[in-house]
Amino acid sequence: MDIETYLKRDYITNLVKSGRRIDNRKLDEFRYIKLERDYCDAKAPGSTLIRLGNTKVLVGISLDVGEPYPDRPDEGVMTTSAELRPVASPIFEAGPPREDAIEIARVVDRGIRESKAIDLEKLFIEENKVWIVFIDIHVLDHGGNLIDASGIAAITALLNTRMPRYEDNTIIRGEWDGKLPVSCIPVPVTQAKISDKLIVDPCLDEEYAADAKITITTTDTINAMQKSGDGAFKSDEIERAVGVAFEKAKEIRNIIKKL
């Protein structure tokens, strides 16, 4: 239990009851977003550092050539993993990813995979050889809403990922040949339920005060959904949340496109 966030819980709940938030945002407003593309461009084919309020996440894209899954021999492979680095919070420990990190990785993966943002068939090279796309989420500063920060940074990084040069069955590191084909921009939008109100992009203190959260990733359709926390939603709340998610995803998508 992080005592400092516990101490603010009642204050935040009371604020939200009266339609306000601890940082003066509207209930459906995202925090300040800054995206720095190609942050690690000396080594990684693709990368983006996102600042979402106080949250900082660095997503790196790596590419390698390997074997396809046996049940999908004509498709490339995409795999997502997340690490909550200890510098991001005093409660994160070094060690293999636990349930929080795994949930982030799987929800971000679902949004990108199900929207077919990457056409895995285009990653086929020849029999038994396909491109493998690694999406590595490196959480550096936990200020709340890690899923949205990670998902937005991930798709931004993918949109500008260079393909390594591949000649004579060898990857030539440091030389590039075209870009990773990405066809759409799935954006996750998380809303937290506090005292029967839904707030978009909860900061750390709000997450702690929340009963439950719902993440909805959209393009022109819904591609992924995840409810978390031990509270419950009413069905009309979920329907409202879907509408809000489409709207906010569109705003974020415009920010990404303008980069």
Binding site: I3, Y6, L7, K8, D10, S18, R20
Partner: protein, 220 residues
């Protein structure tokens, strides 16, 4: 002889002076005084102190602190005081019949209290006394090294904060400040002012700027 002046910033290991005396957060080697922390040098005659700009709270006797009850034991409570060191409060603070009474009826896990540090041992574990339960309101965190600035000389800054925002404010030396008012806008105003004091603590004329800021807020 001094290599730096009063009010200068120094880093760990930096030479402050020769043939002078060292009081706080500095050390001597071969008649030379070096800084042990990143902070501001204060020189009084031939005596040097370094005031750290940052750092965790270490309990000191007679400090007023704001704590959170985190455990109820047989005969005492364990209290979190925003420090690497835990703190105990004896059951005798509320009742003579410590062994037979259920202490959680007085203070339970999660309760916030203000209290005074009565005792600190050589490994920095401490005891507190004279608790007051803090009901409602909000508790914010401030760099413990900035707390003196929030209180001000002769409590001048704190009095301005209380008067101009119409809030109850209790300042804990351990970097926690409790703010309460019936009106939320007052609480938010007080918190904004306190955060600004924390940011601008090293600059001069701060008391006047804060007073102006609060006046302007009241008028609008």
């Amino acid at each position: 002889m001094f290599m730096v002046g009063d009010g200068d910033l120094v880093i760990p290991g930096q030479l402050i002076g020769e043939n002078v005396s060292c009081l706080d957060n500095c050390f001597m080697e071969n008649n030379r005084v070096y800084s042990m922390v990143f902070g501001m040098v204060r020189i009084n005659g031939r005596v040097v102190r370094v005031i750290p700009s940052l750092g965790v709270y270490t309990p000191k006797r007679d400090d007023l602190v704001i704590g959170v009850i985190i455990n109820v034991m047989e005969g005492s409570w364990i209290v979190d005081i925003n420090s690497p060191y835990l703190c105990r409060m004896r059951g005798e603070e509320v009742t003579k019949d410590v062994m037979n009474k259920n202490l959680s009826k007085y203070y339970d896990v999660g309760d916030r209290i203000s209290a005074k540090i009565s005792f600190v041992n050589e490994v920095n574990s401490c005891e507190i006394t004279g608790p007051w339960k803090l009901i409602d309101g909000v508790i914010i965190n401030v760099n413990p090294k900035r707390i003196p600035r929030v209180v001000g000389k002769r409590r001048s800054m704190l009095e301005i904060l209380k008067k101009k925002t119409n809030c109850n404010i209790v300042v804990g030396q351990n970097g926690r400040i409790w703010v309460r008012s019936d009106n939320f806008d007052n609480v938010k105003l007080a918190i904004n002012a306190i955060k600004r004091i924390e940011r601008e603590a090293q600059s001069s004329g701060l008391t006047d700027r804060i007073e102006k800021m609060l006046e302007n807020a009241r008028r609008s």
